[in-house]
Symmetry: C2
Subunit: 291 residues, 2 copies
């Protein structure tokens, strides 16, 4: 039972911290497997020009893979986090999305090959089941890079944008920012993962699903630090302590963290895997066969 | 009596809010004068390629100028804020610093010309007296763009880097971030504005000057919102209200805002103008005469 989560965003947006908070693990202590491909050459800014082909800039983006086996909902889950350090960190981020798109495609290809083999039941599903895209909390708009990346990835991968480090914005600023972001995404027909609604769902369940979708992009906060739970001094909770107050990661008045955790882990993990298999992979497969 | 302040940083880092907070004014309501030069053509990302010359990328950065007459320390002051919208906001930020360097140079040239005229006493000093550079509060390091810009500007302009929206970082994270930033700047010999120490200064004054320098880059917070002063309900103070607490802009436990205001306005305004005239402009002038 695998779950493969792609995390994309500029350095310093709290990606590592959020993954640790979501899965209650420490991912920073694992050694990453670096995917060896074109973009993993030791290119720095001066080298980039030497690597130019007709497509232009060779992006300085690596693909890093870390796996852990967890128990989630009583089930053994192999969680793999795919990170893309370097994305958006150079002065010139042209084509920064290419190594990431290549990674998604190569995992589709890998599955395509394995489907054609004799011993299919032994296939581990390495396809990307969801992409968490971290948006800088400027309060203004999605950047050109945000829009370019999202438009390139939403048809290959379940896209879940999040507003990183959203504690920087007041509730009012979050509202304004979210509605502007959604408008920009709509204008470009960029599709986000939508929790499916089933015929047999009751009203309550339907409302929860709808709310999960309406609240995107999730304004999230994560933390590697713990304090005593003010309501239960025997428990520890993740928090960020400031001179002016304490932000509690799991407090729904403080951020949408619990909504993201519900979507990603507690309620829709299976739906994310299914949409990958039945819709996104099938689209990839038919496009490939047509060519 | 003029003070010309250049503000540079990506969109959404709170530049407008900080200027309003520093000078207790509303700069967003003034119409900006746009400087008409090469980079002011309506270039968007697709056009950029058409404008390439041997130097490569034509940056999509404008220069905007806004002026207000204020009373500071009982003196009439013409404050001019020079902004560079578009800086760092494109997918490719190569050469984004060029329009800004051009602006500094053209103001030096303007002063050079006016020095050669008959009626010199009527000359208004339009040279850039200080540059506030806004660093994204990632908590990690200065970005390649930060370093490139700072190394290009520090010999032309009094450089004062600030950590924008620093309320996103805990006190501990600010300490780590500041020492990494200073190390990176030292490694490249990037010089920041240093409050001068005079022979007749007493020990107290010397300590204040040294502290102002050691605390750079200033971890700042600004706000356009006001609340009642908890200590004096007849007064209003700038603040940011969150579900978990209230950040007070002028509270020195909450940010270095008051230190920046001391440096920029209350104590070293004259020193900034003098260093521009006696050191930075003189260097520019001699280099120009040599050529
Ligand atoms: N204010 C705030 N800071 C955060 C949050 N998450 C992480 N940080 C801090 O941001 C810095 C960078 O976090 P990190 O997880 O390493 O970011 P990454 O480079 O995207 O992996 C660290 O100092 C974290 O403590 C958050 O939700 N809010
Ligand atoms: N957390 C935080 N937010 C700020 C701060 N200063 C401004 N903001 C908010 O950040 C957003 C962008 O601010 P603005 O001044 O327009 O940024 P600019 O694009 O750099 O001029 C607005 O929603 C501001 O209220 C700050 O010091 N801390």
């Amino acid at each position: 039972f695998t779950f493969n989560l792609l995390c994309v965003g500029k350095s310093g947006l709290g990606k590592t911290t959020l993954i640790n908070s979501l899965f209650n693990e420490d991912f920073s202590s694992i050694d990453a497997n670096n995917v060896v491909n074109n973009s993993n050459q030791e290119t720095d800014i001066t080298n980039t020009n030497n690597n130019q082909d007709d497509e232009g800039v060779q992006p300085n983006v690596k693909i890093e893979v870390k796996s852990k086996t967890l128990i989630e909902n009583g089930v053994k889950l192999k969680l793999t986090v795919i990170d893309a350090p370097g994305f958006g960190d150079s002065i010139d981020s042209t084509n920064a999305w290419d190594p990431i798109i290549d990674e998604i495609n190569s995992r589709f290809d890998q599955y395509l090959d394995s489907e054609n083999r004799v011993n299919r039941s032994a296939t581990e599903d390495n396809r990307i089941h969801a992409c968490l895209y971290f948006v800088e909390p400027t309060g203004h708009f999605l950047t050109p890079l945000d829009l370019e990346f999202c438009s390139k990835i939403h048809e290959k991968c379940n896209l879940i944008p999040v507003i990183a480090k959203s504690d920087i914005l007041t509730d009012e600023e979050i509202e304004t920012f979210k509605s502007r972001i959604k408008k920009q995404l709509d204008e470009r027909n960029i599709q986000l993962f939508e929790p499916p609604i089933y015929k047999l769902d009751d009203g309550e369940t339907i409302n929860v699903s709808k709310k999960l979708y309406e609240m995107m992009p999730y304004a999230i906060v994560g933390s590697n630090d713990f304090i005593k739970d003010p309501n239960d001094s025997n428990k520890l909770i993740r928090a960020r302590e400031y001179p002016w107050g304490v932000i509690e990661v799991e407090n729904s008045n403080h951020s949408d963290f619990t909504l993201l955790r519900d979507l990603l882990i507690k309620q829709y993990l299976e739906e994310l895997r299914e949409r990958t298999a039945n819709v996104l992979y099938e689209n990839y497969r038919s496009e490939k066969l047509i060519k």
